[in-house]
């Protein structure tokens, strides 16, 4: 028998998976903060690999559900876009961690605190906007949350300029400059990915509510 309730329930299954994906993003950044706060220890990649793998599994579950479910009130392409944008957050964090690990001797003393604070705030804001989307928040609430993430992304742009300024000072080791530029840009990309998720959600909400 056709059941509207069951049909709409499918939307919540998608939203639950998206929220799980956002949680993996928060967990990846939290692991990174621990690594950067304990720069004296040789970090392990396990936590980052786990977060990214979990997120990949969630993305696969979403793709599978999209194939099985014939009708959703959300457009398939929007769900796919949200899942893809969320997956890119732990993937980029893992990439940073891998590069940090192989260059730790050069970068141990560099202070990434300002970036990590922004990344932490950005992923938590992403989780909040995904939860708001799931609970059916209206346009104004989504716009408010989106505005916060856009501000964080702007702040991240300002921070990167200040950090790069130091790398370009005369006398700064060239090889260290190349490595740090790479790492600083990867961190900035994490906040960019958060902004991408927020953009997709804001667009979808404007379309459907």
């Amino acid at each position: 028998m056709f059941s509207l309730q069951r049909l709409l329930g499918r939307d919540d299954e998608f939203c639950a998976l998206l929220e799980a994906s956002a949680n993996e993003a928060v967990s990846a950044v939290s692991s990174l903060r621990q690594v950067l706060n304990n720069a004296e220890q040789i970090p392990s990649l396990d936590a980052f690999v786990a977060a990214r793998r979990n997120d990949k599994a969630i993305k696969a579950d979403i793709a599978d559900l999209l194939i099985r479910v014939l009708v959703t009130s959300l457009e398939r392409s929007d769900i796919e876009e949200m899942a893809e944008a969320l997956y890119k957050i732990p993937k980029t964090v893992e990439k940073f961690a891998e590069r940090y690990l192989i260059t730790i001797e050069h970068v141990r003393e560099f202070d990434f605190t300002r970036q990590i604070v922004l990344m932490d705030e950005a992923v938590k804001s992403v989780r909040e906007i995904v939860q708001a989307f799931r609970s059916g928040a209206g346009v104004s609430e989504i716009k408010r949350l989106d505005g916060r993430i856009q501000r964080l992304e702007n702040d991240a742009d300002d921070v990167i300029i200040e950090l790069m300024d130091r790398l370009y000072e005369p006398g700064f080791s060239t090889i260290k400059g190349i490595i740090l530029k790479d790492l600083i840009e990867l961190n900035e990309k994490v906040v960019d990915r958060c902004r991408d998720v927020s953009n997709v959600i804001a667009r979808v909400v404007l379309k459907i509510r």
């Binding site: 192989i102 090889i175 490595i179 790479d182």
Partner: protein, 209 residues
């Protein structure tokens, strides 16, 4: 007279064009592997440019055919997405070749043999997978081929990490580090593009299975 056969036969045209596009992607990688197998020779950009331009024309033909067709067996957005990701393969290959020429002094003694094997495997899999779109239902075979692509992409990620570890060791001239990092990242991107194409094809096949 209205003819369903005529209407549906338009899909043959899409399959032909998508196969031709994958073929151009492989041609560009064959030219690239010739270049990488003899990095001491100054290459001509013509082969790379021809492949990219041929692929661009195919992509345009697909876009025109989509406008002209009322009904397609595959979803329009899937055809568009696949043609876009296929086009990016020769486009990225051409970009690599351009950069290779301007950094030949640093790259001429480099052993790219691991990359050439990966590129060959990845593009061959993409060409085979595109052919499966025409016959539809061989889900398991496509899944196996996609798994090969994912593995190649994972191996390419590991390879670039090992390469960066060496480049960042402090044993190389900073200019060489900059030039080679750029080249290796572009090669990795070519494999990423093949992986993207594999993901889109798998998604289409699963949807129609």
């Amino acid at each position: 007279m209205f003819s369903l056969q005529k209407l549906l036969s338009k899909d043959d045209k899409f399959f032909d064009l998508l196969e031709a596009s994958a073929g151009e992607a492989r041609n560009s990688v064959v030219a690239l592997n010739r270049l990488l197998s003899a990095p001491g020779k100054i290459p001509s950009l013509q082969d790379f440019h021809n492949s990219k331009e041929a692929d661009k024309k195919i992509t345009e033909q697909i876009n025109v055919a989509l406008v002209d067709s009322f009904v397609t067996e595959l979803d329009r957005e899937d055809i568009e997405m696949l043609s876009a990701v296929l086009y990016k393969i020769p486009k990225t290959v051409e970009k690599f070749a351009e950069r290779f020429i301007i950094s030949a002094a640093w790259a001429k003694d480099t052993d790219f043999s691991l990359h050439t094997k990966m590129l060959e495997t990845a593009t061959n899999e993409v060409v085979d997978m595109v052919k499966h779109l025409r016959d539809g239902g061989q889900v398991e075979e496509v899944k196996i081929k996609n798994a090969v692509l994912q593995k190649v992409e994972g191996d390419a990620d590991k390879l670039i990490l090992d390469i960066l570890k060496d480049l960042y060791s402090g044993r190389h001239e900073p200019t060489k580090v900059l030039a080679m990092k750029d080249l290796y990242e572009l090669l990795e991107k070519v494999i990423d593009r093949c992986r993207d194409a594999g993901n889109v094809i798998t998604h289409i096949i699963l949807k129609h299975s």
